[in-house]
Each structure stands twice: as structure tokens, then as C-alpha cells.
């Protein structure tokens, strides 16, 4: 298997994530898009690990850390969404432009 077949797939997922982040209005859906991007990073890391094969499996360990941090960030993000929803009865980012200029 080519290294690049995985990298290109990762790049595509990352690009989807960027797209979702930019167009989705619902905050929960934005979070889903972020997960796609982090997943793309994981694919990269694992592919590089299989390509390089380090003694301490650095790439895989790195991926585990990324997964953990991503989980924590989902928790944080959903907490923020709930807080905002409680105050505004909406999870739509378009409504959140109180501060500007």
C-alpha cells in the first residue's frame, strides 16, 4: 500500500471538516466537523507510523493522545452549547454576533 493513498484520504477528510466548520449553522454540527479534521490527523499519524516504524510506536501513541484530547474537547464544546442554549434557546451560531466592530 502506498503511503500517499492514506495521506490523500486524510487531506480530503480534513478539507470536509473545514467546509463543515465554515458552513454549518448548528454548533453541534460544527463540532462534528472538527471531529472529522482530528480524525484526518489520526489517519496521517497512523500512516506515518506504518511507514516509519519507530521503536516506541510514536505515531500510534500520538494518535491515542489526539483521540483523548478530542474527546475532552467534545465534552467542553457540548457543555458550552448547552450553556448557550439555556440562555438563548438556540444553538445557531448566526445568532451569536453580539460583539463586533
Amino acid at each position: 500500500m502506498l503511503l500517499n493513498q492514506f495521506l490523500v484520504l486524510g487531506a480530503a477528510l480534513f478539507a470536509f471538516g473545514v467546509y463543515g466548520l465554515l458552513v454549518r449553522r448548528n454548533v453541534v454540527l460544527i463540532l462534528l466537523s472538527v471531529e472529522l479534521m482530528l480524525n484526518a490527523v489520526n489517519i496521517n499519524l497512523i500512516a506515518f507510523e506504518s511507514y516509519l516504524v519507530s521503536a516506541q510506536a510514536v505515531g500510534q501513541v500520538f494518535a491515542i493522545f489526539v483521540i483523548t484530547v478530542a474527546a475532552a474537547e467534545v465534552g467542553i464544546g457540548l457543555a458550552i452549547v448547552l450553556m448557550i442554549f439555556r440562555n438563548r434557546k438556540s444553538a445557531n451560531v448566526d445568532d451569536l454576533s453580539l460583539m463586533r466592530w
Binding site: V41, F48, F65, V69, M83, M99
Partner: protein, 494 residues
């Protein structure tokens, strides 16, 4: 393989962890009215953690653990000291702010301590994984703390904007790290330095380096990755804003310094010009936007974007062939330390003054000197220091920054110095505007808040520390150059 842990070396981290658990325990057991003890625990923890730092500094040995991925050297000690002192001041500023409104005190200090822990880890990080985890631990709690005023929709919004852009930057940063790992097979900084030095420039390497810069650029709020900063600063609780603009920004700079100078000195032909551009953009756009601000916190937000630009200036010197990287490195560190002290002071005085004015609008601060001359003097000290007027500390920071590019020479860096000089003049205008408002303008209304009583003891202590440091460092820059000498060691490859 065995992995030795030097417990003295990580004692500051352990003390912070200890006080974090203490706060957790106290919060669970104490009745509601006694919750202020959690604040005491946090304040004490951040002060106690300085003690082992002193021991380590006296010993002066470089301790390297886990394959050199976690290092306690002079540079790390200096920055840990900076993080702890600034955290201490932020804790002091928080006490009454958090107590006076119905916030969750225990959880507040716990999250802030976690963030401090992250910055301590960051200062010692010498590989990408530790660095990444450190950054996440600094930032994660702050996403939540920015929204700590739960009922305030502005605070909600501050939190969400910070979070969304934060995770975006994390994703980009991680992508860059993964490509860097793939290209070199290394994650330790020393390994990366070796590998990249031998490697010809390729689009992938350039992209990876720039993605790292994007990630750090978010933390330090450099243009064009600054969009979150004004909104989040305005909406977040003021002590958290102070923390964001000082500790969290300092953490971003530490990460950037470590990665650029230690891990990627061989690719300075990529990152130095890129940071040149970010520096010029940040200074200019930050300053010009600040000119129009009417809210004092927003003004400080844009000003801190501009200050980040000034701090980035020395990085550009690395693009000049044969330039003295140590000079550039230490110039940024000195600027960072001085900026931290005076900016904290500025936020402290905003908190103190807001007791009287009950407003963040600069026009509402007019005539403050008539009723609260102490606060007015402090406004003058901190804002003039930020403007770089001698003999307040800020001038030395600017001086060192200019000097580093002048030494390096080279047309591009000199152009940047000129941009910086012009910006320094523009900046003076809006800083002076605040001072003028406080001192020279007539009050437009009765002050709604109290001004007979001095602010709470903890806030006074916080202000006293920052004003003391601002003035003393201005007169005796030796204090700051000590920092420089310590950091010089590391830039020399130590």
C-alpha cells in the same frame, strides 16, 4: 529501559497538582459560605510552587528526563517563574471578582490551576507530544472559564468563539505536527533540529512549519489568527481576560520559541519571513484597530495584538544570514516578561477602576483622577509603560526589540524596524488617550460605584506587585536581562 524521574525537578508541577486536589477537596466539603478557602489554597499553591523553583535555580543544573523530552533548565525555570508569578497575580485579582458574584469559586480555581499546570509543562516540553498536551491543558480550561459568567450572553459568545477557533487551530497544528513527524521520524526537538538541518526545503516541510505557526499564531493572537481575541476579551470575566492576554499568550510564545529556535533552526528561511509578515500585520492592524476603540478592554485586546506583533519582530532577524539567534531569542523573552507584568497591571487597574466607573467605556472613565487618584496614577503608569515611555519597564522591552533587528541588519528587518517605530508612535496615541481621559477630561456624570473605600487587599497586592515590577524593571533592566542570559543558554543549543 528504565525511566528515572527527578521529583525535585517536577516539584513545582507536583505542588500545583497538590493544590488542585486540595481545591477539589475543599470545594466538596466546605459549606457554601466558606468557599473562599479554595481561593486561599490556589493562591498559596502558586506561591509555594515558586520555592522549589528557587532551589532548582540555585542548583543551576540542567535536568533532562525521558529521552530529553522533558527538560528543566534555566530557560524553563525562568518561564515557570513567569507563569507562576503571573498566575499568582491573576488569582489575587480573581478573589473578589469571583466572590462578589455568584460564580462557582471552587471549580474556577481548579480550572485555572489546571491551566497553570499546562503552562508549567509547556515550559519544560522538548518534544511535540508534551508540547501539544501542554498547550491543550493551557487552553482547554480557558474555553470554559471564558464563559464563566453563565448568565451573560456576551460571556457565552466569548467562550464559543474562542472554542471554535481554538479547535480549528488545534486541528491545523496537529496536521502540521503529523507531517513533521512523517518527514523526519522524530518528535524530540533535538532530533527534529538534526533532521531538518539536513533536509532540503520541500512544500511538505514548508507547509508543516507554517501550520505550526498558525497553531501558535492563534494562541498569541497574531493577525490574521486574532479574530477571536477582541470578542473573547470583551466577553470573558476580566481576570480571565488578563490571564488570556498574559499567561496564555506567553504560553503560545514559549511554544513558538521552543519549536522555532530549538526544533527548526534549520528552516529559519521559512519561518522567519513568515513571522516577519505576521509581525508587520499584527502591529499595524492591531494598532489601527485600537485607535477606534471606545471600550477599554477591547482597546487592550487590540493593543495586545499589536504587542504580539512587537514580540514577533525579533523572530524576523533569524532570516538574516549569520544573524545572532541568541539575541533575537532573548529579545523576545525579555519583551514577553515585561509585557506580562505591565499588561497584568493594566487589567488589574481596569478591575480596580471599574469598581468606581461601573463601565468599560473610556468616556465613562473621564475625570477618574478627581475621585480616585491612586487608580488614576496606576492607569498612567501602566498605559505609559505599554506605550514604551521611559523609565517604565516597557521602554526597555521596545529597546531590546529594536536592538535585536538593528544588530541583525538586512534590508527586510530594517524595514520591519521602521514599521515597528511608526507603530510605536501610533500606539502612543491611543494609550495616551486613556490617560488623558482619566486625568484631563471632566467627568461627564456622577460615578455610580464606590470610591471611598480602597479595593480589596488581594487586588491591591496584585497591583502593588505589578506596579513595583514595572517601575523597578524600568530603572534596573538588569532584572530582565537576567532572564535574557538564562534564555541565551538555551538558544546556544543547551
Amino acid at each position: 529501559m528504565s525511566w528515572e524521574v527527578d521529583y525535585l525537578a517536577i516539584a513545582p508541577e507536583l505542588i500545583i497538582i497538590g493544590s488542585l486536589f486540595l481545591v477539589l477537596g475543599l470545594d466538596l466539603t466546605l459549606p457554601r459560605l466558606k468557599k473562599y478557602w479554595t481561593a486561599t489554597a490556589a493562591v498559596a499553591g502558586s506561591a509555594l510552587a515558586l520555592i522549589p523553583l528557587a532551589f532548582l535555580a540555585v542548583e543551576g543544573e540542567t535536568i533532562s528526563m525521558f529521552d530529553g523530552s522533558y527538560v528543566v533548565d534555566e530557560f524553563a525555570l525562568v518561564l515557570k517563574g513567569l507563569f507562576l508569578v503571573t498566575a499568582y497575580i491573576v488569582f489575587l485579582m480573581s478573589v473578589n471578582y469571583i466572590e462578589s458574584e455568584r460564580y462557582y469559586q471552587g471549580e474556577y480555581y481548579l480550572l485555572l490551576l489546571a491551566s497553570v499546570l499546562g503552562s508549567l509543562v509547556l515550559a519544560s516540553a522538548r518534544d511535540l507530544i508534551v508540547l501539544f498536551i501542554g498547550i491543550e491543558l493551557v487552553t482547554g480550561p480557558l474555553y470554559l472559564l471564558a464563559g464563566w459568567r453563565k448568565g451573560d450572553v456576551k460571556s457565552n459568545e466569548a467562550s464559543l468563539k474562542y472554542f471554535i477557533l481554538g479547535v480549528l487551530s488545534t486541528a491545523i497544528l496537529l496536521y502540521g505536527m503529523s507531517v513533521l513527524y512523517g518527514l523526519t521520524g522524530e518528535i524530540t526537538f533535538s532530533g527534529l533540529a538534526e533532521a531538518t538541518a539536513a533536509m532540503p526545503n520541500s512544500p511538505a516541510l514548508t507547509m508543516a512549519v507554517l501550520f505550526l505557526i498558525v497553531g501558535f499564531g492563534f494562541k498569541i493572537s497574531a493577525v490574521p489568527f486574532h479574530f477571536w481575541a477582541p470578542d473573547t476579551y470583551e466577553g470573558a470575566p476580566t481576570p480571565i481576560t488578563a490571564y488570556l492576554s498574559v499567561n496564555s499568550k506567553a504560553a503560545g510564545f514559549v511554544a513558538m520559541l521552543l519549536v522555532m529556535y530549538l526544533a527548526l533552526p534549520g528552516v529559519s528561511d521559512v519561518w522567519a519571513p513568515a513571522l516577519w509578515a505576521l509581525a508587520a500585520l499584527s502591529m499595524t492592524i492591531g494598532n489601527l484597530s485600537a485607535l477606534r476603540q471606545t471600550n477599554i478592554v477591547r482597546l487592550l485586546a487590540y493593543s495586545s495584538i499589536a504587542q504580539a506583533g512587537f514580540m514577533l519582530v525579533p523572530f524576523a532577524a533569524a532570516a538574516v544570514a549569520g544573524a545572532d539567534l541568541e539575541e533575537a531569542f532573548s529579545a523576545t523573552v525579555i519583551y514577553l516578561v515585561i509585557y506580562a507584568v505591565m499588561n497584568l497591571g493594566a487589567f488589574g487597574v481596569v478591575i480596580a477602576g471599574a469598581r468606581t466607573t461601573k463601565s468599560g467605556e473610556i468616556s465613562d472613565w473621564a475625570g477618574l483622577s478627581n475621585v480616585d487618584s491612586r487608580a488614576a496614577v496606576l492607569v498612567a503608569v501602566f498605559f505609559f509603560s505599554l506605550a514604551g515611555i521611559p523609565p517604565l519597564a516597557g521602554w526597555f522591552a521596545k529597546f531590546v526589540m529594536f536592538r535585536s533587528v538593528m544588530i541583525a541588519g538586512g534590508a527586510a528587518t530594517v524595514v520591519l524596524a521602521v514599521v515597528a517605530a511608526v507603530n510605536a508612535v501610533i500606539a502612543l496615541y491611543y494609550y495616551a488617550k486613556v490617560v488623558k481621559s482619566v486625568w484631563l477630561d471632566d467627568a461627564t456624570r456622577e460615578f455610580p460605584g464606590e470610591f471611598d473605600e480602597p479595593p480589596a487587599g488581594s487586588l491591591r497586592l496584585a497591583l502593588a506587585i505589578s506596579v513595583g515590577l514595572t517601575v523597578v524593571v524600568g530603572f534596573f533592566p538588569a532584572l530582565a536581562t537576567f532572564v535574557a542570559d538564562a534564555s541565551r543558554v538555551i538558544a546556544a543549543g543547551g
